[in-house]
């Protein structure tokens, strides 16, 4: 049986690839996949790094290749673009709520505790376990949590 591969089906496939550091969201959710185009018998997939030194970026690229090839797709090219630079503004409300459910405060100027919604919070460290997160503490429920930095 031959299943037709379209740009839409590639998008669906990419949506199943979780972020290696924050598996609650996909690489599409985070806005890392910028574009999928079909041109001259080839799928051109454009991706952009979150932070220029993000160690997960090369792994994500490998994951995309692995997923495509598992589906028997070989006519593709993956391009990296830097401009416009990645921003957390590309994250939809739906994605933000996924982060919150995973215990990570979504990017916002007004950081709120993902457990009890209190805004009575304090920064513990501007830098967290990954380049994209900062460490916070909630002063009301005393829970330590990560904030997905707004950039």
């Amino acid at each position: 049986m031959v299943i037709e591969v379209t740009t839409a089906s590639i998008w669906e496939l990419l949506k199943t690839i979780p972020d290696p550091e924050i598996p609650a969201v996909s690489i599409v959710d985070l806005g890392i996949v910028r574009n999928v185009e079909f041109d001259d018998d080839q799928f051109n997939i454009t991706i952009t790094p979150t932070y220029s030194g993000c160690p997960a970026f090369s792994f994500m690229k490998e994951e995309i290749i692995r997923h495509l090839e598992t589906e028997g797709i070989t006519n593709y090219q993956i391009n990296t673009s830097l401009a416009p630079p990645w921003t957390t503004d590309w994250m939809s409300d739906e994605v933000k709520s996924k982060l919150k459910k995973a215990g990570i405060a979504p990017p916002s100027q007004e950081v709120a505790c993902p457990q009890c919604d209190s805004q009575n919070v304090q920064v513990i460290s501007e830098f967290g376990s990954t380049a994209c997160k900062a460490l916070y503490k909630c002063n009301d429920c005393i829970e330590i949590f990560h904030h997905f930095k707004q950039i």
Partner: protein
């Protein structure tokens, strides 16, 4: 356009990021406490990311199949064109934070201008990097204030770091032939014009931190021409060890 000049320009910016990144990485697992260990490692990673983007671009400009790894690991000391402040030893925590504060302030102003570069790739790298540098500067300037306006000991250590590193700051604002050529082509930045704004930020933070701004005395230079302090050679012997001992080794 003289591709060779653009190559040298991009390479120098890549060297700045690489050497500073390598210095910062030497703090990993040695930070004064866990959060700060992670912070310095994160900043190091951002600098390595920036170095990778710039050196990959430089490798493309050089052509003949040159790779960014060759540029990073197979050039000798005299072929590195980073600013000499980047290679200065980590010293104590105050020394590292002062070096970072001087450089973050400079990079913020420099990258703002570089985003307007006529060279699309340099502009894209600047747009990406400035977001990270803004964050780094927030971190380093807060530390300057906390240490300066802290205990007698932290004040003395941070003042001593400022006094020792001050001499390396003038080099940042120098313009050489390549810089002038790139500026003329609207690719590069006029660093000499960044000094006023840099002074302003430095003065504000130092004053809030109750620290003194040193007088300019002997201000060494030469990094862009490959003239370095003794520290760069030691740094490279460590960083390049693997590729020197096992040439072309890969993961």
């Amino acid at each position: 356009m003289a591709k060779a000049s653009l190559y040298k320009y991009v390479l120098a910016l890549g060297d700045d990021a690489l050497i500073l990144g390598q210095r910062l990485s030497q703090w990993a697992y040695k930070g004064p406490f866990l959060e700060e260990d992670i912070a310095l490692s994160n900043i190091s990673l951002d600098m390595f990311g920036r170095a990778n983007l710039l050196l990959e671009y430089a490798a493309t400009l050089k052509g003949n199949g040159t790779t960014s790894d060759e540029l990073a690991f197979k050039r000798n000391e005299r072929e590195f064109s980073n600013h000499i402040i980047c290679e200065q030893p980590n010293g104590n925590f105050a020394d590292t934070i002062v070096r970072q504060f001087f450089l973050d302030t400079f990079y913020k102003l420099f990258l703002q201008k570089l985003t307007k570069s006529k060279d699309e790739q340099l502009s894209a790298i600047a747009q990406k990097s400035i977001k990270e540098t803004t964050y780094h500067l927030r971190h380093s300037s807060k530390w300057i204030i906390r240490l300066g306006d802290g205990t007698v000991e932290s004040h003395a250590k941070v003042q001593s770091a400022i006094d020792n590193l001050w001499m390396f700051t003038n080099e940042l604002f120098e313009m050489n032939e390549i810089d002038n050529e790139m500026l003329e082509q609207k690719i590069g930045v006029d660093c000499s014009k960044l000094k006023i704004e840099w002074d302003k930020i430095i003065n504000e933070v130092l004053s809030e931190a109750t620290l003194n701004r040193p007088e300019d005395a002997n201000m060494p230079t030469g990094g862009r021409q490959g003239i370095h302090t003794e520290h760069l050679g030691h740094l490279l012997s460590d960083m390049q060890y693997l590729q020197r001992a096992y040439p072309d080794a890969t993961w």
